[in-house]
Amino acid sequence: MIIGRNIVKRYKTHKGYNTVLDDISFVLEPGVNVGFLGRNGAGKSTLLRMLGGAELPTSGTVTRVGTVSWPIGFAGSFQGSMTGFENLRFVCRVYAVDYREVMDFVLEFSDLGDYLYMPVSSYSSGMRAKLAFGLSMAIKFNFYLIDEITAVGDAKFKYKCKYEFSKMKKYATLIIVSHNPQTISSYCDRVFVFDKGKIVKFDDVDKGLELYESL
């Protein structure tokens, strides 16, 4: 379970402070997949980062019960001078999982082959994404944070992702940020619509999508 209490997030800009999230509270329950909808800059990805602990709220608290993934597909923490394999081993060490199992999964999922032993800086953006997705999915979490899943990769890769997400739904909870109504309606049980610093929660996904499209 993830509980957010009175979360405020402000960013300093040259014109003063921009309040992205203004006193929002919520509970994300296990087994209830939630979609985050909203216009660009509405605070969806910011909240996702706060759920994972990568960013802190200006005020308010996020309480996590159970394990939470990093935003799936996030390749920013890869060290370019290290090989894909070395990056993978680092993450496995941090999460105390057997790197051999993870490596098997990543190799099968990403089709990287021998490129796994090349420095990440030599990868194309597609290859980076494949490594990042594969690695995120290979480690088991209670909650998976997913930011714009359909943004990268070719058709085959997207198909693999969809297949893995469907599997994940059975044992974990997905929190999905997307602009794609189809993605939201196929994976989510509830939606949060972000607008003007507040969130509106919907148990009926279609109603949430209606509001989102009217923004």
Binding site: A54, T67, S77, S81, Y95
Partner: protein
Amino acid sequence: MVQIRVVYALMLRETKTVFGRSRFGYLWVVIQTAFNVVVIWVIREVVHSGNIPGLPLPVFLICGFTVWRIFSETVTKVMMSVEANSALLYFSKVRYFDLALARALLITATNLVVFILLMTIAYLLGYTYPILSLWPCLYSIAMLLLLGMGIGLICCAIRRYTESIGVLIAMIMRIGVFISGVMFSLSHLPPSMKFMIDWNPILQLVEYSRTSFSYSYSGGEFLRPDFVSFVVITTLLGGMALEVITRTKTDKL
């Protein structure tokens, strides 16, 4: 246990990033320290600045530089630790403090390796010294590591408001190396300047570390253990508190 594993993973990662992919990457750290020692050694031989009572000059310099580098590198690396590795905070097991600790421990380990290597080379070159007790040396290293972390964390917090602190620290470190007994023993200072020894915990620790390797070196008598402990604990706790308080300031658009 979780945090020990995370810090270990971070240290291994840092090894690869700091020393690069070059096979000689690690060797450069040895060369750099050795270079400092050799340059000052040659200068002192040329100007006949006098012997150090009770300690061969290279041993005096190797001790001074290694212990000083553990302190100064910890300050600068810990100052940048969160900013340089903030992407790693996406991994929920990695905490802010782990980033700083991993860097500080790696610096200490690296400099210890360099220290043992250079001391061995000095011995093989005929500069003999006894190893009396490693306690003064290890105590000094541990205290300077903690002090370096404390100051580094304070600077990390200040850097969230102004990046100029990095330049200021670089300047202070350049002066620090002269007033901390790294290259020259300050034991012959006139009494009017004695406050420089009394109020400089770094100097006291640098000098104390050398007594591990000499029967008669007088550097240990400056040490004020209560004062050093007070400064180290206050700085470390202050640094940790400031770093935590200023965390929400890290966000940039």
